[in-house]
């Protein structure tokens, strides 16, 4: 009699236990789905700012964007119309000069870092590049003011180019280094075994093979500095007129966005929206180019 009762009891106990376990598993599963939902929701919310910014800029910018906008100079307050041709030309010129400075130097340093992996110089160089990348852009502005603007006796587009070149340098170096490190040793060894001198091996075999990776790095670095304003405040300075003399102050898109956005006039705000849209479109196009290059000519072995 007692035995039966015991068996019954333990049966009940097991049942409650398994019920409890089921409940427990249910709770864990619910927790699992809850947090998955939470993470997906937070991720989707994180994309809102970008969509809002793009939407707002396109909505405001489309109104002022037309042929005249990119071909004429800004008009004074009170007159409708006007464009940002000086800033557009200025931005492109400043960038071209900074590319001329940063691309050769960046690629050469990148080659060194990919070739000498263990020397102490390459350790310090790598450290320097990392630190350079983290320097606040406003500090770059101060530095170039002291290095270029003060000795030259005034603001100039050239000093702005040097500032932007300094900002482009780390990403070009990194892109070159990382691309070339992906190339197999055998490629270099094959070339050297054929009696090709080292410098020719690098310039004619290694660099051309990794060219698409270097190219993407360069384009991305341009996309990154095209909107930089802080380093230009004390260097290129800005100019309300058309100027193509790189030794004189020059306007650029980010500079006029800053100046017009913080002005109290609606006409100028409208110009700033248009300029923002031009800038964003340039950045989008540069990003799309890199994606296409990456897809088409991927460096792979």
């Amino acid at each position: 009699m007692e035995l039966v009762l015991d068996a019954e009891l333990s049966k009940k106990k097991k049942l409650t236990q398994s019920r409890l376990a089921a409940k427990h598993i249910g709770r864990r599963n619910r927790k699992n789905t809850f947090f998955k939902g939470l993470i997906i929701a937070a991720t989707i919310i994180s994309t809102f700012p970008l969509l809002l910014i793009l939407f707002y800029i396109f909505k405001q910018g489309v109104a002022s964007l037309n042929w005249q906008f990119v071909t004429s100079l800004p008009k004074p307050v009170g007159e409708a119309g006007g464009g940002v041709s000086n800033a557009l030309v200025g931005s492109i010129m400043i960038l071209l000069v900074s590319c001329g400075i940063a691309i050769p130097l960046g690629i050469v340093i990148g080659i060194y870092l990919s070739e000498e992996k263990k020397s102490s110089l390459s350790y310090y160089c790598q450290l320097a590049v990392d630190v350079l990348q983290g320097i606040p852009s406003i500090v770059i502005g101060i530095i170039i003011y002291e290095w270029v603007v003060r000795p030259m006796g005034g603001f100039s587009a050239l000093s702005g180019s040097v500032a932007l070149a300094l900002m482009m340098l780390p990403s070009i170096i990194k892109a070159t280094e990382e691309t070339l490190k992906l190339l197999p040793e055998s490629l270099k060894e094959a070339s050297l075994a054929l009696g090709v001198p080292y410098y020719k091996t690098i310039m004619k075999v290694i660099v051309p093979t990794g060219l698409s990776g270097i190219f993407t790095g360069v384009i991305l670095s341009i996309a990154r500095v095209i909107g930089e304003t802080a380093p230009l405040l004390f260097t290129a300075f800005g100019n309300p007129f058309m100027s193509t003399n790189i030794l004189k102050p020059m306007s650029s898109l980010p500079l006029i966005i800053f100046n017009y956005a913080t002005s109290p006039y609606d006409d100028w705000h409208q110009l700033a929206w248009g300029a923002s849209m031009v800038l964003i479109l340039m950045i989008l196009i540069l990003n799309i180019i890199t994606k296409l290059v990456q897809r088409k000519w991927k460096v792979q072995f």
Partner: protein, 300 residues
């Protein structure tokens, strides 16, 4: 004949050496640039260091006309905006990193979100500031009316919100890499014991990657400290010590941006450069620590 050959060989040898030398020289050049940056900042801030000394960091009045240069309000402004931005953005950046590093590592969904986050990093600071001025400021003003604080619209809080959006991509890109590097044998072991996905994430992945996640946040903080344009446009630019998160203020970077061109007198300019030196040193320390943590993590 023999002579010509050896001459040729010599030519190649010379080119070879010149090539190697110029590679090394360019690498030295990069190091020199960095050292020169540090010394340029240091030398140019000497007049202010001599004239003001430690008062620079605890005086609260910044009045160039009266030759008073206390940078405490700007130091507080910089720290407040940056840490507030970090607090706002961290839950989102960790969530996005888990989303892209664990739930959707590959596939079209991952591609879309990766591109969006990349683009977020690509938008220029000045456009963030412009957008903030016309969209965020009115919203914050309404919020301030609700909270019964003076409705400036601009201020520490507004800047921190914009900063939190701007630094998100930086911490995401690092944290995502770190999370996707969590070893699969640990994850599989947990799954085989019946763990749910969330349990694997919270009990295996996050504890395993916490140093890497921390480095990601640290580097994002470094970004926030030096961010200039958006903050300059949104913080209100007052020289008083901020009294709360809704009050207007100034950060070191925004003071430099606003006043460097107009600064007259050696001490004034030099005081601004001293702030630049401070930003440089802090950013450098944060960067080196962050990179060191990442290096140790990837070596493990």
């Amino acid at each position: 004949m023999n002579g010509v050959l050896s001459f040729k060989a010599k030519g190649i040898n010379f080119k070879e050496k010149a090539f190697r030398k110029s590679l090394a020289l360019s690498a030295i050049f990069a190091v020199i640039i960095l050292i020169a940056i540090f010394f340029t900042l240091l030398i140019n801030s000497l007049p202010s260091i001599k004239a003001i000394g430690a008062k620079f960091f605890y005086e609260t009045t910044w009045d160039p006309v009266a030759d008073k240069f206390g940078a405490l309000p700007f130091l507080v402004g910089t720290l407040l905006t940056s840490f507030l931005a970090l607090i706002i953005s961290t839950p989102f950046s960790i969530a996005v990193a888990i989303f892209l590093g664990e739930y959707y590592k590959t596939g079209p969904v991952a591609e879309v979100f990766k591109n969006i986050i990349d683009l977020l990093a690509g938008i220029p600071s000045v456009i963030y500031g412009f957008w903030g001025l016309f969209v965020l400021v009115p919203l914050v003003r309404q919020l301030e009316i609700k909270f019964n604080v003076p409705p400036y619209g601009v201020g520490i809080f507004t800047s921190a919100v914009i900063l939190s959006i701007m630094i998100l991509p930086y911490s995401v890109s690092l944290s995502r890499q770190v999370i996707s590097m969590a070893p699969s044998h640990l994850k599989e072991a947990a799954y085989s014991l019946g763990a749910t996905r969330w349990e694997v994430i919270s009990k295996i992945i996050i504890p395993y990657t916490k140093s890497g996640l921390f480095a990601g946040l640290l580097l994002a903080l470094g970004r926030a400290l030096g961010e200039t344009m958006a903050v300059t446009m949104l913080i209100g630019n007052t020289h008083a010590l901020p009294t709360g998160i809704f009050s207007p203020g100034n950060t070191m970077a925004s003071v430099i941006a606003n006043e460097f061109n107009e600064a007259t007198g050696p001490v004034y300019t030099s005081a601004l450069i001293e702030m630049g030196l401070f930003l440089f040193v802090v950013a450098t320390i944060i960067n080196i620590i962050g990179k060191q943590i990442i290096k140790r993590f990837t070596l493990d």
